[in-house]
């Protein structure tokens, strides 16, 4: 659906997007994830034709962005960050105006505005000026703006930034509803956001793609390399416990974890990927008179992956 090759963009000397390759399939919700200033917005702006790439190609369906920009713009509904809409216009007038520019017929226009009024829950605010709306409401109007022509591709830049949890949930529902049949690309710097909404996550840092895959794949990939196991024991002391566990094959480190109960010894054992490590730890404990309270494998959360991939230096 969307095919991006060697996409690069400079602002003066500063390289905002550095040689990105990306393929987005139809019916996929893709999340561009990255810290602030990673090049997410620049990438989206180039996809929508607002900025021209310094080099590289973008093609959407069979259109190239250099030759058929107008056709591409017709396919895409785009919501820029913080929904910059005309503040002096009424919500209804605004949607009416956008529908006119997009060339919807009169009947279709009415129909779409009614549908979106329901989907984005705009009925109560249809006749209020956009400038008077709260951020969450304005964001919903912005979503309606992007979806007015029922576009094949929806591109959203930080659709939930600055909203409260209820509003975020609402926006997410709308995006997921839309993303059932259509292609959605959204950017965010909030992990839980990407985890909750997206089928696929592309992590960008300093203008480059550092990871790309489904949420599960990304988690598995990183847990395959390293495992962390937490153990909680009664009647054990740190010195003897760590001595015993250190002898197990594959163990690379043991760490004491603060626990609320002074009786309980809590340890974090890290090891390189051996599957039967928990078995070995269990049999090791069985030989002593320690009481096992807890034995758990910690999967690395997306947050850890994200931090690891995008940390400084």
């Amino acid at each position: 659906m969307i095919h991006v090759e060697n996409l690069t963009r400079y602002y003066g000397d500063f390289c905002a997007v550095d040689n990105i390759d990306l393929d987005v399939r139809k019916g996929e919700i893709t999340g561009l994830l990255g810290p602030n200033g990673a090049g997410k917005t620049t990438t989206l702006r180039m996809l929508t034709g607002y900025l021209a790439p310094t080099s590289g190609t973008i093609s959407i369906k069979d259109y190239s962005i250099d030759d058929d920009l107008l056709e591409i713009k017709k396919l895409i509904g785009y919501l820029p960050e913080s929904a910059p809409l005309y503040h002096n216009m009424l919500v209804y007038d605004y949607l009416d105006y956008i529908a006119d520019i997009r060339g919807l017929s009169k009947g279709r226009k009415e129909e779409r505005i009614q549908e979106l009024a329901d989907l984005c829950d705009l009925r109560a605010i249809m006749h209020r000026p956009i400038g008077e709306l709260s951020k969450g409401l304005r964001q919903r109007v912005g979503l309606a703006h992007a979806m007015i022509e029922d576009p094949e591709i929806l591109i959203l830049d930080e659709p939930t930034s600055g909203l409260d949890p209820n509003q975020i949930a609402e926006i997410r529902d709308i995006i997921r509803h839309f993303g059932k049949e259509k292609t959605v690309i959204l950017s965010t710097h909030i992990l839980s956001e990407a985890e909750a909404t997206c089928d696929r996550i592309v992590i960008i840092d300093k203008g480059r793609i550092v990871a790309d895959g489904s949420t599960e794949a990304l988690e598995q990939e990183s847990t395959a390399q390293e495992k962390i196991i937490t153990v909680a024991l009664l009647k054990a002391d740190f010195a003897s416990a760590s001595m015993r566990f250190r002898l197990l094959p594959g163990v690379t480190g043991i760490e004491l974890v603060e626990s609320a109960d002074p009786e309980v010894l809590k340890l974090k054992i890290s090891a390189d990927g051996r599957d039967n490590l928990r078995e070995m730890i269990y049999s090791c404990i069985k030989e002593t008179d320690w009481v096992l309270l807890e034995l758990a494998k910690e999967t690395k959360s997306l947050e850890n992956i994200f931090r690891e991939l995008t940390k400084e230096g």
């Binding site: 929508t48 607002y50 107008l70 713009k73 820029p80 910059p84 503040h87 520019i101 060339g103």
Partner: protein
């Protein structure tokens, strides 16, 4: 083309939603009305010459204030991004905004027909130069609007847009009067380039294609310039 008309309708309506439009019209009518009627009874001639003579200056002052928001405001609030990612071309946007401001200038000019009517009521008014004057005023208004659109496209600050627009408009109005001590050739060229000369020709009732061409080329040049600026913004 349809997109340009849609943008035109929206921008034109905007002038009547915000108070700025009404304020500008009021100032324009106050200034022109005051200067016209204070001298009118001194000369006791039934014509609108003093109104039209001053028009290039009042337009230079007022039209940049009409056009300053067209691009600068959108760039400042970010709605420019939203507008350009709709299926419109740069030409649609420039044309729509230019038409809206030029039409607003025409609307602003309309109440001054009352001046003509009141002159015709108390004396014998020669309508020829008056009609010529209004034609010239509309053309000059269009040319200055194009200048204002350009000035607005180069900045995100409305004040800057307004001042740049005024400087260019005043320059075009006045600079033939400032170069009289230069050699003859330069004076000739600058007289040709000055908007006031062409406006005066038309407002005498002489409609020459050279004058029409002049205003058309100013409009074209500055709208093209806006397009180039938009391209450079990418």
């Amino acid at each position: 083309m349809n997109q340009a008309l849609t943008i035109f309708r929206k921008e034109f309506r905007d002038y009547f939603i915000s108070p700025v439009g009404y304020i500008v019209v009021c100032i324009f009518l106050l200034v022109t009305g005051w200067f016209f009627f204070t001298t009118f009874f001194l000369f006791s001639e039934a014509n609108l010459r003093s109104f039209f003579n001053l028009l290039p200056l009042t337009f230079s002052l007022v039209i940049p204030a009409v056009t300053m928001k067209l691009f600068a405001e959108e760039i400042h609030t970010g709605s420019y991004e939203m507008l350009l990612t709709l299926p419109v071309t740069h030409n649609d946007v420039v044309a729509g905004k230019f038409l809206a401001s030029a039409s607003f200038v025409a609307v602003m000019l309309a109440p001054t027909l009352l001046y003509a009517a009141s002159v015709a009521f108390i004396g014998r008014l020669d309508w020829g130069p008056v009609l010529g004057g209004y034609l010239g005023a509309v053309l000059m208004g269009a040319a200055f609007s194009a200048i204002g659109v350009f000035a607005s496209s180069i900045t995100r600050n409305q004040i800057v847009a307004c001042i740049v627009g005024m400087v260019i408009c005043f320059g075009l109005t006045l600079f033939d009067k400032m170069v009289f001590f230069f050699p003859g050739k330069i004076v000739e060229v600058s007289t040709y380039l000055a908007a006031a000369t062409h406006f005066e020709n038309i407002s005498k009732g002489i409609i020459d294609t050279r004058d029409l061409l002049y205003f058309a080329s100013v409009v074209f040049l500055f709208l093209y310039g806006s397009n180039v600026v938009m391209q450079a913004r990418k």
